[in-house]
Symmetry: C2
Subunit: 170 residues, 2 copies
DNA sequence: TGAATGTGTTTGGTATACCAAACTTTTAAT
DNA sequence: ATTAAAAGTTTGGTATACCAAACACATTCA
């Protein structure tokens, strides 16, 4: 109750995200596990949980297990979705390594708004569904990335696959 | 001298970026203008400048104008480039409005690393240079974004332009 | 030259978010 | 049941980054 309508800090978003992940893993989140996951000391977690409790986002009684309230769950889901959409975009479109995609997503999730996330989702779909692009086009990006210019031989092969797909659509 | 090798805070990155922009506009940056640009009070700027001066990133003497040192200029350039690459990507690839692209870029510039920025640059080039994509393909994303599925008539027109381009390459 | 104004600085206070370490509660082991 | 270990909390301290308001310098104009 008394759901404080204040926006969350980056730190608070991280805590919610961690709690959601731990709930999924272990049914319930423990201070020690949150601390480990976020790389902070247990004492810091206690303080943070108090704030989230006051905002009505978690059920928090000292010395008890921690669970998300419906409202907290909703926000944690949003953040987690933001995170994974960004990671998938970095990995599946910009073809960054899983590790790099993950670490950047961790930071970017606090910075991008819903509009950006929605466009990322749609763009991934577009690339896969448009007959002109598709998986081979994405793969060819790596080649372009290192070679600077598209290779002719590569282009010819692309062209054939591409035309075949276009034929199908018509 | 004594260039502190510590990474910059987000706030410090914002200050450097603002100082660079003001140097370009007015030759020199004034406390009042920095404050206005960043939406903080003049007192906050004084404090921040002290820190940047100690890091060797700006020439700072109380009551004098502010200029970037070579080292500070280099970092400000990096941040500014990050900002504009991200903005261009959001606007030119994900087709977000200029305002939305700008506001998201402002926040994302502190979160993404060089690898991501480099991929964004290359991806923009790739889209424009690959015969299978190009400007009309980008434009069609808007259609896909609202309609959910590619339209057949649209696809046919796309196909022709696309094939013409592929012919040229071969 | 001497105010008045504008610009820059300083000081004291707030809020966040963390650590280190003492402390309390709970759980597990004997 | 007692005690040792583990888990959680609290306290005091640090650092950042801001504001508000008093203050200092500097420029301008009368």
């Amino acid at each position: 109750m008394s759901a404080r309508e204040t926006a969350l800090s980056e730190s608070q978003e991280d805590y919610l995200e961690a709690i959601l992940a731990l709930e999924k893993e272990n049914k319930v989140a423990r201070v020690k596990d949150i601390a480990e996951r976020l790389g902070v000391l247990r004492g810091s977690v206690s303080g943070a949980l108090k704030g989230l409790g006051e905002k009505g986002l978690i059920h928090y009684e000292p010395y008890s297990f921690i669970t998300l309230t419906p409202q907290g769950k909703k926000m944690a889901d949003e953040i987690t979705r933001r995170h994974s959409v960004i990671r998938d975009f970095l990995e599946g479109v910009l073809l960054l390594s899983p590790e790099r995609a993950e670490s950047n997503a961790c930071r970017m999730e606090h910075a991008v708004d819903k509009a950006v996330v929605d466009r990322m989702v749609k763009f991934i779909e577009y690339i896969h569904e448009c007959p002109r692009t598709g998986p081979d086009w994405i793969e060819a990006f790596i080649n372009f990335y290192s070679k600077q210019k598209p290779e002719l031989a590569q282009c010819r092969a692309c062209a054939e696959r591409c035309m075949a797909r276009l034929q199908k659509v018509e």
